[in-house]
């Protein structure tokens, strides 16, 4: 009996029912609905104001998404293992302040600065991971605590002041260093004079994250842990190590986002953390809806980040006042999630 192939498509007796037209439409809507809405919006914006389609504007949309897009790609890792990292915004802000402090005040070489900033991000991620995996603090609380801690920490070296060239420090000393040119190139330059370097960095990070999560063995283990960690443990996965790694990756990538931000503004601005946390987590969550996968995924994350930026860009061209931005983001997030989860719940 066992050597007979029994694989038949759409066997009704197994509960694998034949699909009706309505159901097929629903599947299509869940899968491509978000991308279609995005395409329609782009067309509408372009029709209302043709400037929207200018390559310069399209690049500025991408550029607007870079910093929180990079952070969102990083936080995708904790989301995949069914965790969350609320400290990414303040890690990025710390990275901005450390970069400025090292180069402008301590006159450290730019390359070393980048390494130190990245290391610091990784280290904070590691502490997050230890608190969550070893000390067993719930992820939300551990990273919320870390968020406050880092937010406070970044103000200490400069005594709460922003750091720019020639800034006067708390001791009355004037800072004499400056940002290295190649450091600034990361945020302000363009490759071949066309593609902004920051956009390029985001694309490279996106590709790396996509390859890791979607194509490698490691990615498979991350997803297995997020879906059923006990089952993952019982197939031999080193669950604790992977969970720890997710926070290290998230912290490191957040630090990279901070470096790009520092390079863009060219100074250590104490306000720079701002809305980074919510924008990036929002992007990653919108990513659940892209292609209707209902789980964190790098492609969705990047689309989510670009979508937010595009929407803000388009609406600003239509004279939307700046203060409704957050409201718009919230509406997008809630409707995207309601759409995906609401429609697919009926399936089960």
């Amino acid at each position: 009996m066992s050597d007979q192939p029994r694989v038949q498509p759409e066997v009704a007796e197994d509960g694998v029912s034949r699909r009706s037209t309505g159901e097929r439409f629903k599947r299509f809507a869940i899968r491509y609905g978000f991308l279609i809405v995005m395409a329609i919006l782009m067309i509408v914006f372009g029709m209302v104001n043709p400037v929207f389609w200018n390559p310069a504007n399209l690049f500025s949309i991408l550029l607007g998404a870079t910093v929180y897009g990079i952070l969102a790609l990083g936080v995708t890792f904790p989301l995949v293992i069914d965790g969350l990292d609320l400290s990414i915004g303040s890690v990025a802000a710390l990275s901005v302040m450390i970069s400025a402090y090292l180069m402008v005040v301590l006159e450290v070489n730019g390359f070393v600065t980048i390494l130190i900033a990245l290391f610091l991000g990784a280290f904070i991620g590691f502490i997050n991971g230890v608190l969550i995996v070893r000390v067993k603090i719930p992820d939300l609380l551990a990273t919320l605590g870390m968020m406050f801690l880092v937010q406070g920490l970044q103000l200490i070296p400069s005594g709460g002041r922003s750091i720019g060239r020639g800034a006067v420090l708390s001791g009355g000393v004037t800072a004499r260093g400056q940002f290295a040119d190649y450091f600034l190139f990361l945020g302000q330059g363009r490759i071949f004079g066309i593609v902004p370097t920051a956009v390029m960095i985001m694309i490279i990070v996106a590709i790396l994250v996509f390859v890791t999560l979607s194509l490698t063995r490691w990615g498979r283990v991350f997803y297995a842990i997020g879906s059923n960690s006990e089952a993952a443990r019982l197939v031999g996965a080193k669950v604790d190590q992977y969970r720890l790694a997710a926070y290290v990756v998230s912290g490191t990538i957040a630090a990279l986002g901070g470096i790009v931000l520092a390079a863009r503004v060219g100074r250590g601005d104490v306000q720079s953390g701002g809305t980074l946390l919510l924008d990036s987590i929002g992007s990653a969550l919108i990513g659940f809806a892209v292609l209707g996968v209902r789980k964190p995924n790098p492609f969705g994350t990047i689309v989510g980040a670009v979508f937010i930026s595009m929407l803000l860009n388009g609406l600003t061209m239509m004279n939307m006042p700046y203060y409704v931005q957050d409201f718009v983001k919230g509406v997008v997030l809630v409707s995207a999630l309601a759409f995906t989860f609401g429609l697919s719940k009926a399936k089960a």
Partner: protein
Amino acid sequence: MSESRPVIEVRDIGKSFGATRALDGVSVEFYPGEILAMVGANGAGKSTLIKIICGYHADHEGTIVVGGQEVRFHSPKHAYDAGIATVHQIINQGVVQSMSVYENLTLAELLGPGQKPFYDKRMLRQRAAEVAATIGLSVDLDEPVSDLSQSERQMIAIARALASQPKLLILDEPTSSLSDKEADRLFEVLERLRKTGVSILYVSHRLHEISRIADRVVVIRDGKLAGVLSRPFEVKQVVTAMVGELPKHAHVASRGADRSGDQVQLELRDLVVEPGGPAVNLTVRKGEVLGLTGLIGAGKSELAQVLFGMRPPVSGEILINGRSVRPKSIGDAIRKGVFYVPEDRANNAVIPMFTVRQNMTAPFLRVFQRFGAIMNVSAEQQRAREMIRSMGVKCESEEAEMDSLSGGNQQKVIVARWLLEQYELVILDEPFQGVDIRSRHDIGVYLRENIADRAAIVIATDLDEVIEVADRIVVMNAGRIRGEQDYRNLDRDQLLHWVSEEPEEVTTEEVSV
């Protein structure tokens, strides 16, 4: 007792979850002043029946009759109002730990609808004292529940359940986290309650408790009523109904060769699993399927956990193929060729977000990687398709989602996961739980046809399931190997005797082949 009318009666209760038939045509009567015990293996359908009686599953088949009137519970509250109170297995879900004893005893007054926004503390304490008195509970009413012992918490949960003056009190595994002394106290309380005329449904897998306190025993097996026993009954009768009669002749392909001459594949030498526990000696020969049986708590799963590197042994040696191995972790056990299909598929095995293919290859991702760690999906698909074909998994394709498969087919996928690669020893822990007969047969046949010169251990409480696949049956009781039999010379009474002996009686090992 049977002269009186039942307070509650369930008739022809049935319930399916997707393609799985959890309960089928079960009828039970509950009489006042009676302790009715319910037993059954894991996954037999006990909890489904309880949930139906307490109103969690409104969409069941069959009818529930309360006091002569047919009712259909549409919510747990509805069932509670009709006089059905339940104390659930996990005690700490039944009490609010951060609250004091009196607050816990008066939760209904505190949280119920139609209460005043401010509560009268003195009145509540008085009410709590009344409730506590009904079962002779003597703890400080102001003490926080988090400071109490397990049995005191249990008593609070029971007292609160009784405060509503239920017709039927359901106790789900009430002694599972109690010490013997605490359990004795519980039994005294139950004896007293019986006299007050409450009907008690007592669910437990500890058969010796049941023989002590129950008036009747209902046995559930594979979702069906396997028997109702009235006093006086013997533990052995209960076990028989629970684990099944021996089949006339279970015929499985290629079984039958005498393996006593074959070489030893697995040997356990004086392996001590629990501190202070007995030493286990066991051999499994090459090409042999060993059936390991015994009641819940007999030590079967604990032994498997040691072999799979989930807990270190206290002492003793594990030899595979003559070489001593001591798996330090699950990953280490897998590398050494010890594979384990855990019990409780939904919680321990299925990765719900993964496709059939991804579920199958989960332990052996390294086998399918190339260029570093990139997964070779087409190789995975090919291997998954082979397994789907040879095990007869019914699914749309290897890319189907797990939840589109029936329980039996999900189990085939999980077993296939561990037969994908070369094992030295594969352990299947309750592999037939919630699995239809067809899938059960397919899994058994595949296991046997592909065993070659390696070894397999199939753990199951149900004797039928073990006898169907095993060459040799080993019975565990109280952590000990109690005895073993070859499948060709099965002595049913002897097996049942070993399974059902009281733990204190289990002393020496008897072998009858």
